[in-house]
């Protein structure tokens, strides 16, 4: 049945078949004449932009003189339009970027950008930059996300990425002789992704030559003799070949360094209107009513058109747009050839045939199958593959049925292969329908990736379809719902906050973990602060919630939420925000009431904002804290070399401490601190005097006890006594200090004298300790007998190794445990040990009796 007619539509070019299925016929638009318009068609089945060509004289019918920019989908359904009122002169070029922004460049170099909804994207920019505002753009060439243009004076400019549009002036192609100031005949670009440098390379045909222009260099390229000047050039999709039309009517294919690979003599020397690559296998040339397809063979294929067409190159073919239809010219895929080629006996063809027999209940079906039994899997695979390449749904179905019929007879075929293909085709067919109008071949779809496709659908506001596709393919729906929510907010200015919130929440809850904060941020951007506040309430992640609350001016709520979260980093974030925004007093008031915020502020300010911290404490009446700060400062002053020890510059230091003391005394609870500060000031004064009188800078910043010790060590007992009385040093401490100070200078006589002044309030043990530590056993012996407590006496004897005496004292104390311990001390000494044993025995005996 269909087998014959399928192949009959094919054309043979060399040994390859081409076909040209219709994608849309007729187009949905009415009364469109492509020849009157400038047209920009996006690849991957993207939208079509049309605007009346102001470089041509055209007759106006019943239409406004004002031009309209109209955007259609690939099926010719109007998506949006807008009146073109942009200044800047004639429109030189327009094109779609990878993210489907329409870029229009006018004569004075201004770049206008539009969304798919014909909404202008601000700000406009100039490709010429500020210095060259008086130049005029004469031609521009676009690629993926960039553009190159040259001006009347042959300067070349480029924007390499519209996402981050920075105009760059490339090197001037000037050094090449341009006698008559002739403009380049044609331009082509090699996309950055295919160049060594990673920057765009521009090919200009100037005079008889071709030059390659880069950002900072111009390189003349050698053309084969007789080929120049080139009238038209176009670079292949993989950036490795250049197809061109020479001045004498030849179509030549070069490498990008202009080594000739192939050439074909055309009948006309007139350059074609359009020149395009069809995949990588052939080149299309279009003159007025003829489309010529030249491939690597002598005989080209001719197609005749009685209406104007536009060639839209795709990765695997060319779409041909005319006033009334859209076709797709492509190489027939191998699997399709194997099935449908006339007289094909490939397994796939036989399988396809078997299905036909089967449907007609013919036994030949079985015969066919038996013939191909061994190669059944590859036949199934070919049918599946061929189905993928079809645009016609009924043919897809037939092929897939053939595949599934064959699969039933083969055990080792990957079962999900057919399922997967069905899934892909459902998506492709859905987006191909004229309402959506994105005709994609399976190869394009794979290159584009499903997620980009979903992105494009979302952009075109096809949310439901994209949600379904995402769900169907098991992808994350978050992007879709998020975009929907944002678009909904933008479009619903008439709906009240509460109602809109409900509508939004209803859908947002579909997706777990979606960022409510992002939606709220969008609401805020749209001037719906109240809605934003309501939405952000639903955000579970405080790290997202708090910054947003700040941006919508809800500082207090932000502070509460941040505090609740326990994340101090968030609290700091709010803190700094409020700090910057509010007057200090108001700021202090805010944080004083919030413990965590206040404590963090203090921690930070202690490190880096001393003065401000003082203000805070003063304004909140925490005088003692101010006092501590001042006290701390006094040490800082002390470290200052200008206030070096012994100099009268201690004055300011002492003043600070006295100030601190006064502040402490303001509150009853800080009498102790106040007293301490007072003493500290007094001490500093005395130490200063001491340094002056002794001419030794060793006193300042030592403690009272150390000062006393130093005095005694220096032999200045009067000073020591003075310090003692001045600070009411207790008798006990005084004894300890003096004993150890005297031991330090080994003034044993003085020590003995001191012990005899009166009965020491701390007993004689400290004397013993001091002597033992100075390793003067003899001196120690003077005091041990005077120790009142026999236990202590025993231990003291033990420490200087007098076992017998120690044992006697211990037995006096009647302390068995002590005896045991002492025995351990004398473990090495057998004689001593035995003493303890006997004594302990006696002791325990006593204990019993």
């Amino acid at each position: 049945m269909a087998n014959v007619s399928v192949a009959a539509e094919w054309q043979l070019l060399g040994d390859r078949y081409y076909r040209k299925p219709e994608l849309y016929q007729p187009m949905r638009w009415k009364h469109i004449d492509l020849s009157r318009n400038k047209v920009a068609c996006a690849p991957f089945g993207g939208p079509i932009a049309l605007i009346r060509d102001d470089s041509k004289i055209v007759q106006l019918y019943a239409e406004s003189a004002l031009r309209k920019l109209r955007i259609f989908n690939s099926a010719g359904l109007l998506l949006s339009d807008t009146v073109w009122k942009n200044p800047g002169g004639r429109l030189i070029g327009l094109s779609w970027t990878d993210d489907q922004t329409l870029v229009c460049i006018v004569q004075d170099g201004t770049v206008y950008r539009y969304t798919v909804h014909a909404e202008p994207l601000e700000p406009n920019l100039s490709i010429l930059g500020r210095e060259h505002f008086d130049e005029n753009v004469v031609e521009c060439v676009f690629w993926g996300n960039g553009v190159v243009c040259f001006t009347e004076t042959c300067k070349v400019f480029s924007i390499s990425d519209f996402k981050n549009p920075v105009p760059v002036r490339l090197a001037d192609p000037a050094p090449v002789p341009t006698e008559t100031e002739e403009l380049p005949h044609c331009v082509a670009v090699i996309e950055p992704q295919y160049t060594m440098s990673g920057n765009v390379e521009v090919l200009l045909s100037i005079g008889d030559a071709v030059v390659m222009v880069e950002e900072d260099e111009v390189q003349p390229l050698q053309l084969p003799p007789g080929d120049g000047p080139l009238q038209k050039m176009v670079v292949s999709g993989n950036g490795r070949f250049v197809a061109s039309f020479t001045h004498d009517g030849r179509m030549a294919v070069y490498s990008t360094r202009f080594e000739k690979i192939f050439e074909y003599q055309c009948e006309s020397a007139l350059p074609p209107e359009q020149l395009a690559w069809c995949g990588l296998d052939s080149v299309l040339l279009y003159w007025d009513d003829m489309l010529l397809m030249v491939g690597p063979s002598d005989e080209p294929v001719r197609y005749l058109y009685d209406e104007p067409i536009v060639l839209i190159p795709e990765c695997d073919g060319v779409r041909i747009l005319s006033n009334t239809s859209m076709e797709f010219l492509q190489l027939v895929p191998n699997s399709t050839v194997s099935i449908f080629k006339i007289g094909s006996t490939s397994p796939a063809a036989l399988l396809f045939d078997a299905l036909d027999h089967f449907d007609r209940r013919s036994a030949k079906a079985d015969e066919n199958l038996r013939l191909i039994r061994s190669s059944l899997p590859e036949a199934v695979e070919a049918c599946v593959d061929a189905a993928g390449h079809e645009f016609d749904v009924s043919r897809q179905r037939t092929l897939l049925r053939a595949a599934s019929y064959g699969q039933a007879f083969c055990s080792n075929f990957q079962r999900d292969r057919i399922q997967e293909m069905c899934r892909t085709l459902r998506v492709l067919n859905a987006v191909c329908s004229p309402e959506i109008g994105i005709p994609l071949s399976i190869q394009q779809y794979k290159l584009l990736t499903p997620s980009v496709l979903i992105g494009r659908l979302i952009n075109a506001h096809q949310h439901l379809l994209s949600l379904r596709i995402a769900e169907y393919l098991g992808m994350n729906q978050e992007v879709v719902i998020m975009h929907w929510a944002c678009s909904k907010i933008t479009a619903s200015s008439a709906i009240s906050d509460a109602t809109l919130l409900e509508i939004l929440l209803d859908k947002l809850k579909l997706c777990k973990g979606i960022s409510y904060a992002a939606v709220a941020a969008h609401a805020d951007k749209n001037g719906r602060r109240r809605l934003a506040a309501m939405l952000v309430e639903h955000e579970p992640r405080s790290s997202k919630q708090v910054p947003l609350l700040l941006s919508i001016g809800e500082e207090d709520t932000a502070l509460t939420k941040a505090t609740e979260s326990g994340d101090t980093d968030l609290v700091y974030l709010v803190l700094f925000h409020i700090w910057q925004k509010r007057q200090p007093l108001e700021f202090f008031g805010t944080i004083q009431a919030r413990t965590l915020a206040r404590d963090l502020f203090i921690t930070y300010a202690r490190c880096h904002k001393h003065e401000f911290l003082k203000d805070f404490f003063l304004s909140t009446g925490q005088l003692q804290e101010v006092a501590f700060l001042l006290w701390k400062e006094s040490w800082e002053l002390g470290k200052n070399p200008m206030a070096s020890k012994g100099s009268p510059l201690h004055g300011p230091r002492i003043k600070l401490i006295e100030k601190a003391q006064n502040l402490f005394s303001e509150t009853k609870e800080h009498t102790f601190e106040s007293k301490a500060a007072e003493e500290h000031a007094k001490l500093l004064r005395m130490q200063h005097e001491l340094e002056v009188t002794t001419k030794q800078a060793i006193f300042v910043d030592s403690s009272i006890s150390d000062t006393i010790r130093t005095c005694i060590v220096l032999g200045n007992h009067r000073a020591a006594v003075k310090v003692r009385t001045e600070f009411k040093v207790s008798e006990k401490r005084w004894y300890w200090l003096k004993i150890f100070a005297l031991a330090t200078i080994r003034d044993w006589d003085a020590l003995e004298k001191f012990s005899k002044e009166k009965r020491p309030p701390i007993g004689y043990r400290p004397f013993v300790e001091a002597c033992i530590e100075a390793e003067e056993k003899g001196e120690a012996l003077k005091y041990i007998p005077k120790i009142a407590d026999p236990r202590e006496r025993a231990e003291s004897y033990a420490r200087i190794g007098m076992a017998k005496e120690a044992a006697d004292a211990a037995s006096q104390a009647k302390d068995g445990e002590l005896l045991g311990r002492l025995k351990l001390t004398f473990a090495q000494n057998a004689a001593a040990s035995s003493i303890f044993d006997t004594l302990r025995d006696r002791l325990s005996f006593q204990g019993v009796s």
Partner: protein, 596 residues
């Protein structure tokens, strides 16, 4: 060198945690191409060394420096800072950068914050006008495994910061660390917390689970069954007592730093004057694993026994004919000889400290204070220490112990001791006193102490403790059962409910929550009982209780936990998480702050 502890026998797969951290660090270094100068903050060195070998860093073109205000000495044009997000460290970066600028040096600066970037730190960099010169990143190192059963969050200042400054950053970090564990081992179904900080951590943890849920359906049974959170504040008595286990004493006298001690080579029997040796101390050392948790008295005996038996074996060896298997046995014993020598040397060195009368006196005093029967003796002892100007930290330890057990000192004595302290150690210590007072560690008495009640109810003082064959955790302090571990013992056995009355006497609130899938099932009420089977992980391993100490834990406490874990009838493996390993000394030190 065995610096990086071997974790193969850990009850939980924490090796993967460490590998993850290793990978993350290496990725950071890889992404900065070429030679670079890595500047780390000195406190970090220890944590890093238990994660990654220095040689591995060098392999990635790293020159290692410590953070300081001095100009950076390096030829590298790339400078990478790796530091904790601590405000006071920022000034060093600023001064480094300013210095380079003034010299006209152009360098690329990268700052990686551990464990994450901090707004406040970046603010400082901004104000110092260096922020725009720096590429900022983070190194999410939340957990450092110190041993098979010990995880540290490496937050040394956590206790002081939250108690004194009110800065609770560490609590968020702890919650984050635990949440990270949950991502690997499942949502922990039972959480018990005691203390203000602990209850807050439990709360933040729940928030994190709500914000960033761990998908619990993936895991059949969560590996960690129970999380017990305990504030150091609840028990400040235990860390102030001198630890008497082998490992504890090593820490008290020689300071164990990230799993090793540094001491003179001569002590370890190597005759190199003045040289220092690092001795690694972790479970990879089999002998150490055996004796680390024992009371030091017993350790000495065991070492002696081992030495004698070896000597005996050796003599037998020379005299009689042996079978091959006996020979093998003997050789195996010989292999443990280096470990034997190491620990005999260490123990000998330790006993020079433990036999000092001052140490014995101090032990005596600690017990007297804990007994809380003779107030005046204790007071006079501390007074005398101050008068003798003994090292401040030693005084503070006893003072804290004394104040905590008495819930403060009467105003007159409080003021008297404070004055004596200032007079003896200088007025700059006003700040230290202020810190201690804010943290409630040394304060005015406002209410009657309930220490005696607590001590009695929880049987904290155990009179007849057999340190060699202990039947209670009290052996770690030769007669005092650490309060913290006693509480955990109850929490593991039966939850908080039976001891609620006692808990109320201790500082801070307590909470008990069920989470994840089990939050609604009432049958999961008690740990043991009907649902024992559910607690078991399928392959027969015991399920795990993670005990987290907020504010630090001592080695003695870890030993006590290991003792509990090894008890018959114990259904769980216990793993310790802590902000840092502390001792009374390091803990008291964090409060010492000079005004000057």
């Amino acid at each position: 060198m065995a610096q990086i502890p071997n974790l193969d026998n850990a009850p939980l797969n924490i090796t993967s945690l460490r590998e993850q951290s290793q990978k993350e660090l290496i990725n950071i270094l890889k992404n900065i191409r070429g030679k670079k100068c890595l500047i780390i903050d000195p406190k970090l060195g220890g944590s890093l060394s238990s994660i990654i070998q220095t040689s591995l860093l060098k392999e990635h073109g790293v020159e290692l420096r410590h953070l300081s205000a001095d100009p950076i000495q390096t030829d590298c044009t790339k400078v990478v800072y790796l530091l904790r997000s601590q405000l006071d460290l920022m000034k060093f970066i600023c001064s480094n950068v300013h210095n380079d600028i003034s010299k006209g040096l152009q360098r690329e600066y990268y700052v990686y914050f551990i464990p994450r970037r901090a707004v406040a730190c970046e603010k400082v960099l901004e104000e110092e006008k260096v922020h725009h010169l720096i590429t900022i990143g983070e190194y999410p190192l939340y957990i450092v495994p110190l041993d098979e059963d010990v995880l540290s969050f490496e937050l040394d200042l956590a206790y002081k910061e939250s108690q004194v400054d009110g800065d609770t950053t560490s609590l968020w970090h702890i919650a984050k660390a635990i949440h990270k564990l949950e991502f690997s081992f499942g949502v922990i179904p039972n959480v018990r917390a005691k203390g203000k900080a602990s209850v807050r951590v439990a709360d933040i943890l729940n928030r994190m689970q709500a914000e960033e849920p761990v998908n619990s359906s993936d895991m059949v049974v969560p590996e960690i069954n129970t999380l017990i959170l305990l504030d150091r504040e609840v028990d400040m008595v235990t860390p102030m007592c001198s630890q008497l286990t082998y490992e504890g004493l090593l820490d008290e006298f020689l300071r164990i730093n990230n799993g090793s001690v540094e001491l003179d080579s001569s002590i370890m029997g190597v005759q190199q004057e003045g040289k220092k040796t690092k001795v690694p101390l972790n479970s990879s050392d089999k002998l150490f694993k055996e004796i680390r948790d024992l009371n030091f008295e017993v350790v000495v005996q065991i070492l002696r026994q081992k030495a004698t038996s070896m000597k005996q074996d050796y003599t037998e060896m020379t005299t009689t004919t042996q079978t091959v298997s006996e020979l093998k046995d003997f050789v195996r014993k010989l292999n443990s000889l280096p470990e034997m020598t190491r620990h005999i040397n260490l123990a000998q060195h330790l006993s020079t400290f433990t036999s000092k009368p001052t140490f014995l006196g101090q032990l005596d005093m600690e017990h007297t204070i804990v007994e809380a029967q003779s107030y005046d003796i204790c007071f006079e002892y501390i007074e005398e220490m101050i008068h003798k100007q003994e090292p401040l930290v030693n005084v503070l330890r006893l003072l804290i112990l004394f104040s905590v057990t008495n819930s403060g000192l009467p105003k007159k004595q409080f003021d008297y001791l404070r004055r004596e302290l200032l007079h003896s150690y200088g007025f700059e210590h006003m700040a230290t006193l202020n810190n201690l007072e804010k943290a409630g560690l040394f304060k005015k008495q406002e209410s009657k102490s309930n220490w005696l009640t607590i001590k009695r109810a929880l049987q904290l003082v155990v009179d007849d403790t057999d340190t060699a064959n202990p039947n209670d955790i009290a052996y770690v302090f030769s007669g005092y059962a650490p309060l913290s571990i006693r509480l955990i013992q109850h929490a593991v056995r039966s939850g908080w409910r039976p001891i609620e009355e006692i808990l109320k006497l201790l500082p801070g609130p307590h909470s008990e929550t069920k989470r994840g899938r089990f939050s609604s099932s009432p049958s999961f009420d008690t740990l043991q009982g009907a649902s024992v089977n559910m607690d078991r992980v399928a392959d027969g391993r015991r399920s795990i209780v993670l005990v987290v100490f907020i504010g630090g834990v001592t080695f003695a406490e870890i030993s006590a936990l290991r003792f509990l874990s090894a008890q018959e009838g114990m259904a769980y493996d216990l793993i310790v998480g802590t902000t840092k390993i502390v001792s009374g000394h390091t803990l008291a030190e964090t409060f010492v702050e000079k005004l000057g």
